[in-house]
């Protein structure tokens, strides 16, 4: 297998692109695909202050790495979820990575705050993943606002987005479908714009990028996500992509084209209230996060 660019030995074959690459040209391809999404969806400008949400997994560390290499002003934001073992190991990967490349980091520790996910879920009698979503969203929004960032970037890849789209279509969740987009606009005065620069790259490619570039990431999945429905739709998609390379990206990008003119701004600044407990913007007098953690006290 030869690299299509330099005819050197290829390290990876990208079937949907009908191309194999050596390490150097795979890195180039990977960066180009990221830049293509950034430009196409006008994610941010060169001078913007970017916060990357990092979990210690391959996608978020790779995104952080790529944006840093592109010369962006980027800070990693990590939330220690308080999941014994898993959180410790993923925090280690994040701090080791930041040290190795000399990157700016913000860390929030939910154990210190008194809100480790398993504890909150148990006390609030709600599903772990739902609780985790609410709490992470809160601290990410909070940190982005407090830190004066222009934009919040996440490591969602093509498989994440296409499988979520497939799940939403098969359940005909129109509202969620409309919100499947690589850019979600800022809301109110405090909620920052959110972007997903890796949407043209698959999980396999982010993993290859990490391995080839010495990015040491936590390989285990979150132990609380076992049996998550997203994994089922990923498996189904991969069955199709395996046999008909290119179907997944066509499905996803064609969808984006169809919905590109939809208005995704959920809110007008005028509609937003201020949470009386925490001071963040909210649709109600008390925000979802504050209502959740109140149950725990």
């Amino acid at each position: 297998m030869k690299c299509v660019k330099c005819n050197g030995n290829a390290v990876i074959n990208i079937r949907r692109a009908n191309a194999a690459f050596c390490k150097e040209h795979f890195n180039e391809y990977f960066t180009e695909q990221t830049l293509k999404s950034i430009k196409q969806f006008r994610m941010f400008r060169k001078t913007d202050k970017i916060m990357v949400c990092v979990s210690g997994g391959k996608d978020s560390l790779v995104l952080w790495h790529v944006l840093h290499n592109l010369g962006c002003d980027v800070t990693g934001m990590y939330i220690d979820l308080g999941i014994n073992g898993y959180s410790d190991r993923s925090k280690e990967k994040v701090t080791a990575f930041a040290d190795k490349f000399g990157l700016k980091t913000i860390i929030v520790d939910l154990r210190e705050k008194g809100y480790p996910i398993p504890f909150v879920a148990r006390r609030a009698k709600r599903e772990d993943c739902a609780v985790c979503g609410t709490i992470k969203r809160y601290y990410f929004n909070r940190a982005a606002y407090d830190g004066g960032f222009d934009v919040v970037a996440t490591g969602h890849n093509l498989d994440d987005e296409a499988s979520r789209l497939l799940a939403n279509i098969m359940h005909w969740n129109d509202e969620y479908m409309d919100n499947t987009y690589p850019v979600l606009p800022a809301g109110g005065k405090m909620l920052k714009k959110k972007v997903k620069p890796l949407v043209r790259l698959t999980e396999r490619e982010t993993a290859a990028f990490a391995i080839l570039n010495g990015i040491d990431y936590v390989m285990e999945e979150c132990p609380m996500s076992k049996g998550a429905t997203s994994l089922i739709f990923k498996e189904a998609l991969s069955t199709i992509e395996d046999k008909m390379a290119g179907t997944e990206i066509f499905f996803y990008t064609k969808f984006l084209e169809r919905v590109k003119d939809k208005d995704r701004s959920k809110t007008d600044s005028d509609e937003m209230k201020i949470c009386q407990t925490c001071g963040m913007e909210s649709f109600m007098d008390k925000c979802t996060f504050c209502r959740l953690v109140e149950k725990v006290k």
Copy 2:
């Protein structure tokens, strides 16, 4: 495993219905589901003259059997496609089945007509399945018109319809999506209404019905359909359904609800021409079938 109706020994478990049945009550369930579709989509009336397209496979023979048992005036229409071995074996199953239950049958033999599928495909330099579709459609339409039938029924099941819908969505084939419906209206003056009474039942259930009721069908797939993309989407759907029973029928029936008010009548009688070669209605001066077989001569 006990039958949910009579507490006798169950022979089949239908996970999406959260129910197991003995033979008697499975037959009842199967017939009820068929009747439900017939009524919901106003497929035909008790007095209508029905032509069932039969291939010798489980779905079409089971449909023929169920409609006959319901007291419908039903005739099986079989086309010998001229595929060596496969066609011989499937014709045998059809004639044995018709003899066993004393059913009316129409048989068209493409070898006699001079148009066996592999020959036409080779000569016309077109794909086997495309050629087969054109030729079958022609003879089914022709037989339904010549025989004065009110409606043409096919054995398409839930897996067929849901996987086709999935494929059309993933390729964003809007036009085909709009035509995914269990009833397609009559067109022009000669093309009969088409209905799919088995759309609420899966392949596994039609197979079980056939086996339990002594319906001997041809088990092999058509040798020319190997690698058909429909099989890939079926596999993906089954991955999802296996782990989330009920997703497939929700996906399909919710879609039907969403598109139920679409106009599916492709044609006004006034728009149709008469094919100058064969005399059947057509959009052009010469119909697709006549244009195809002309290449072969």
